[in-house]
Amino acid sequence: MAHRFGVGPRVALFATCINDVMFPGTPKAVVQVLERLGCTVEFPVEQTCCGQMLTNTGYFDAAVPNVRNYVKAFRGYDYIVGASGSCIGAVRHQHPMLAEHAGDPGLAEAVADVVARTYDFSELLVDVLEVTDVGAYFPHKVTYHPTCHSVRVTKVGDRPYRLLEKVKGLELMPLEAADQCCGFGGTFSVKNPDVSVAMGSDKARHVVDTGAEYLVTGDNACLMHIGGLLHRQNSAVRTIHLAEILASTEGGAA
């Protein structure tokens, strides 16, 4: 392995609000993998949320404090990492717009600075640490749904696939209509629940058809939606975040 503990870069973890409360296993997995690769991980406690839910519902003024918070928490770090294509996308794509909306040039400048150091977990691994084999072991059939914001906003490209390919024991099952949205869409899922469920049901059907034991993505929010449908249908397919697969090792529990 290229890095050993304490030898790699210092990385600030952006847990994201939904992972912090609902899916703490994901940020824990990020810590595990990064420390295994020799990084020093820090968790700035001032952090809360990217503000995407407020922004995307049209409440720009209410979202501005999130931008200030993010800047305050993460200024001064060379690397900031989050395990969510959607939240990282919101930081990169929406924080500059919100800073402009706030009419605060100082904030805009700080945002530009912090945004440039913000990475999705898959990007940090592949581009910064230059690893695809993180020493993971996950002996299961898995299918990957490339979430919309990870592909179209954060633009993680094929990085997640490259990481999954290197996981020992993992069998990747191709997913039909993988590029179609699962229908979560943040508040869309409750403002347009019928359309959201119609989209999600098609996604869930494609997932079940792969024969995979696990559905994996880089976004727990989408997993909560598709997983919620699968669970209601008593499906045996389980959902898991990419980081948690990468954290699994031959010695540790899967």
């Binding site: 968790f43 949320c49 995307n56 720009f60 919309c148 403002k191 347009n192 629940p193 909560m224």
Partner: protein, 493 residues
Amino acid sequence: MTEQAQRRTPAPPPGTYLGMPTFQKNAKVQLADPQLRSNLRHATGTIRAKRAERVAEVPEWEQLRLAGEAIKNRTLRHLDTYLVQLEESLTKAGATVHWARDAAEANAIVVGLVQAKGVDEVVKVKSMATQEIELNEALEHAGIAAWETDLAELIVQLGHDRPSHILVPAIHRNRAEVREIFLREMKQYGTPAPEDITDSPAELAGAARRHLREKFLRAKVAVSGANFAIAETGTLVVVESEGNGRMCLTLPETLISVVGIEKVLPTVEDLEVFMRLLPRSSTGERMNPYTSVWTGVTPGDGPQEVHVVLVDNGRTNALADPQGRPALRCIRCSACLNICPVYERVGGHAYGSVYPGPIGAVLNPQLRGISSKIDQSLPYASSLCGACFDVCPVRIPIPDMLVHLRHEVAEHKRGHVGVQQTAMAVAGWVLSDHKHFELAERAAGLAARALPNTTHLGPLPWPASPWTRARDLPMPPAESFRTWWRKERGEAR
């Protein structure tokens, strides 16, 4: 006699677009129609695949998109100049130019022109602008029959229906339904369909051809739109697949074209870019079968009286809004509709406009404002997946525009106390500071500890019902990441 009985053309469904309920309500109705969903899934799936194949053939596709975007941006920036130039060129070429501020003015101009010719019917080339201003009904009120000649528009008109797609307005109908409509309706408005007609595409097209033929040969006036209007030369362009438009553009003595002011392009050279972008994006063809190009009046050839009605109808509002202006780049290819996962499931009728799908969700609130229920709901009719931007040949940032329109709607409703306003106020407070956030986290942890054996929550009453009606909700774990970190790594960072 009732108005119904006196009509010259099939009556559209009752009600108005602007009077429609919210997108959410309309979508629920459409989703419950399994025939519609299967028609749409099949149709959008086919056309999507064709587009992808044809676009993949062009290695410089992204450069073409950037060129299309740049040409449109430049034109819109100097729209005043180009419009005056267009008027001069058209006038020089023997056409008469009319300006219309809104739908009512445009309709009055067209009705007046038709009446002046002393005729009581017109044939129509497929046109979004005339659908937008609801010209057919304005003509009908004046006792003038407007016959749609595009096959799909004919199906919609004979079906007493509304269009549900920009390019394929009858996309929600399948062959069996079309056969029924033809059999039932054609005989009431002209040449009937053969009694023994089947639902084979060739037979259906044959019936339409015979039905339309007598109308083409009889008509003295045609009404069209235009895909492009060239300022430099006064040339109008209509891009189509069937050739029925060509019949209307060449046979009648008088031609009236209703054109949105954003359709102008500076020069003929600019057309090159769009003639490559449009067919591949829209029908998934390398080149469309019929492109009609005409410049005013050509003595002894084609219509000898040519009118062009330039329509604003809300476009200058969009132009004045820096966030809204990109919508005016739209060339109505409908690629964004075909790729849209929301449109694929609900169809066009849920959007309350002749412009459905992603472009409709941004264009209608721009053109009409956000005072109606339907226009307030349209910006939320998207999961913001971003597929529309990827396929748009003029790179309209539809997801960003939707977010900005949501902001406008939220501002418009400022002061209202509703569920959403309250939820967002609470969320704003919780997320604004980590101390607030930690309080909420503790509450979630307490809930989890209160139900130690529950991993998921099933159907719950309101306000959790929209989520839990079809989806289970995972229980938050008893310990948040933050708490774990503090325990493991101590208070400091």
